[in-house]
Symmetry: C2
Amino acid sequence: MGKVRNVLFIMCDQLRADHLSCAGHPHLKTPAIDSLAAKGVLFPRAYVQSGVCGPSRMSYYTGRYMFSHGATWNRVPLSLREKTIGDYLRPAGIRVALAGKTHVLPDLDGLERYGIEGGSAMAALMRAGRFEELDRYDGHSPPGEESHYAAYLRKQGYNSDDPWSDYVISADGPDGPVSGWHMRNVHLPARVAEEHSETAYMTREAMHFVEDMGDRPWFLHLSYVKPHWPYMVPAPYHKMYSAKDCLPLNRDERELLDQHPVLAAYRQHDESQSFQRADAPDIVRPAYMGLIKQVDDWLGRLFEHLKKLGRFDDTLILFTADHGDFLGDHWLGEKEMFYEEAQRVPFIVYDPDPAADTTRGTIDERFVEAVDVVPTCLAALEQPANDHLVEGCSLLPLLRAGKVENWRDAVFSELDYSFREARKILKRGPRDCRAIMVRTDRWKYVWWQDFRPMLFDLANDPKELSDLGADDAHANIRREMEERMAAWLKGRKTRVTVDDAYVEARTATHKKHGILFGMW
Amino acid sequence: MGKVRNVLFIMCDQLRADHLSCAGHPHLKTPAIDSLAAKGVLFPRAYVQSGVCGPSRMSYYTGRYMFSHGATWNRVPLSLREKTIGDYLRPAGIRVALAGKTHVLPDLDGLERYGIEGGSAMAALMRAGRFEELDRYDGHSPPGEESHYAAYLRKQGYNSDDPWSDYVISADGPDGPVSGWHMRNVHLPARVAEEHSETAYMTREAMHFVEDMGDRPWFLHLSYVKPHWPYMVPAPYHKMYSAKDCLPLNRDERELLDQHPVLAAYRQHDESQSFQRADAPDIVRPAYMGLIKQVDDWLGRLFEHLKKLGRFDDTLILFTADHGDFLGDHWLGEKEMFYEEAQRVPFIVYDPDPAADTTRGTIDERFVEAVDVVPTCLAALEQPANDHLVEGCSLLPLLRAGKVENWRDAVFSELDYSFREARKILKRGPRDCRAIMVRTDRWKYVWWQDFRPMLFDLANDPKELSDLGADDAHANIRREMEERMAAWLKGRKTRVTVDDAYVEARTATHKKHGILFGMW
């Protein structure tokens, strides 16, 4: 055990906070992840900055809220101006690598604007959010933009132009192959062998990287595309769970009365319609659990590998997700809406430093946000905080039982639904689709642009079944939440071209520069 | 008279809205500027986005609020990400040139980050806010960073290493030269001849440019450094006005009771202390008026020149300032605080299009903001609105008596005083110095980070002498103003890498790309 020299930042895609045994799932056992929690700290109240892949990840990578980094949905490129963990660590000689998914889209306008030439090393870094892509793999890829995984599959004998579609997310049905895009099929085993599946492949990539690096310092973002849809899972995981093992559905008929307009629109989306079927959750949830179980098994192998290499002595390990999955809760599929099932994520940090010994195996109920990952890594690696840009807080004082005053008492998340069908249903323009959530210990409040707000009393309604957004008796609470939101908005970090030291060095120094204004 | 092909964007530095005869000044006659108002529209309620040069100008050039463009004070570079009028017009074949001051600081971090090579044409544009610098002239310049003006002066016989300090802002005192940095001296005539002064020189630069351009389209930013301090003015303008010609001082002893903490700190600054002297306003204001009179005389020559060249038929002309000057009002010097004397600026637009004939010579009391300049120019030149970035509104419908629904009923301005002595006096950190103003028809409200707000009732206290920021009877008004501010903050345009057409083309199109999520 010793000082942090490396960081392993593990992300699952679309993994709910409640689908781990260390988080209380009664039937899904995740011993590897649990073992990490036993050596580190589990933060059960960790929230993402947006309930959808792209903006959530950009907040993880930049340490900035969605409003600040501006990549407001999956199809919005991250501005080249935004600095990521790659910008911060590479100059310190730390290799910053990616195995798996990032959802970073290249800022083509920026690349052209600054004349950054295609094919250059800078262009590659700039296009990739400043990660060195060992193997970038976002799941579905247009032909020609495949990761190495497609070639790997072909080498294993999966002969196809698109082995992912034909094997990884397909199953053998009674009349030939059927697709995992159709949820009704996901009780069948994938046509790919488990050892050739996405999770297996990407874990091995990470294991090779860590081994290759030897004692040289690194930051590895191991980013699984699972348990994200398509929910097709290879044998034997496809039949490990059944409907009786699933968490009870969190939905109630009264949620469909006086629905919030945006929520009503989302409930018309395909994914919500499908999950509203009585049979869907019981087909999909076991497959989803199988995918998680498989991740856990591979993490067990990865952790053994790290131990063997001595990397548990000098590697900070974070385990989290970019958002959750409704799986039919609240009559919804997918994510984006502000319920706990989508916004709250697993969050475990293992810190090898002996200073963290007193917190090992504990559960810390304080609020954590995705924006905390960058400052935590910078602090652990003793790098400059860059806090003129970074909007999160280092968790190191919490991990090392340091003095922590005034820890945050609220978390924030945002949404831009302009790319979604809901916008068309509601007949709104591309700039009129914003929402902001604030949750405190007791309340969750959502401001919706041009619609009434939502409000949930988490003390008396932890399942969020009763929306008090239009309830007269709660006008004061809504106002208080609006005030919190306004204070948060006013604190956004927009002075991005200079840091605080620059300001300090130039405060009231005009006389030194021969500018004597104001003298009589 | 015809279609707009060129834009002449004239800015004075530190010119108050009330120091023009067309705006009602009883003794300072400005016939050239008045003649522009007679042919165009005078907007007497025009406000800057920040009451200090740098951030105000960056809002004029980008069409974005300070919170959005992030160049929050004079010493903060504009991020290369921010697009300016130069980015918008150059691709249309319009030459975008600067004669005079911009206060743009190069984003050195950005230039290095994107590998933009020094000496390249791109580097020159990027360093200069995307203006082609005919002659950039910010007044005081460190040796080696002088504009062409220094060489010009030497050629006229002003032999000095620093002819600006030794001639332009100096006068002959009884015991030798005295400096205009000291306000006590500004009743004396400058040692530079009027025809060699800054205002004369820069007007001639503009006249040459317009003549050289012939019929090719252009956007010229003619940006005078006057009547900004040092207030030294050449003969005969130094003695045209005396104390009896000045507007009455707007200050009252009761303003010094229960002072707002930030205001109290600003009143300790040198410039405020100097202007609090009984003799200072009567020395400085006549010089300030002389500087304005000189600008007006040169604008008369420039306008004659434009007429002779036919450019009044196809040139949109805007006349404004980056902020005002307290000149002792409210016991303050300089600007930055949110009183009308600093925030409200002259604003005249002349539109040659016959569609504007019905509004010529009128006064339009609707609220205008600095961010309106970019969209007005884009609309007049029939260029794309870029309204995913631009936060202002085109004034063209107002100028051309078009249908205007829901014009803004409030204006906003911001301050970051972290570089000022006031921060040290108040013992605050570099990120704790924000303020936001909202003014409506009746109220002016200022939110101060960690201090009580300010509130003025402009209907009953148009001189802003009575701060109601702590008055119990006005709690509801303050709340209403806070709500307006919150709504404004939520509307900031942060999705900067893609435009609305991109969003429209990609809304709910996943199925087209073979992504079939949500299907049963």
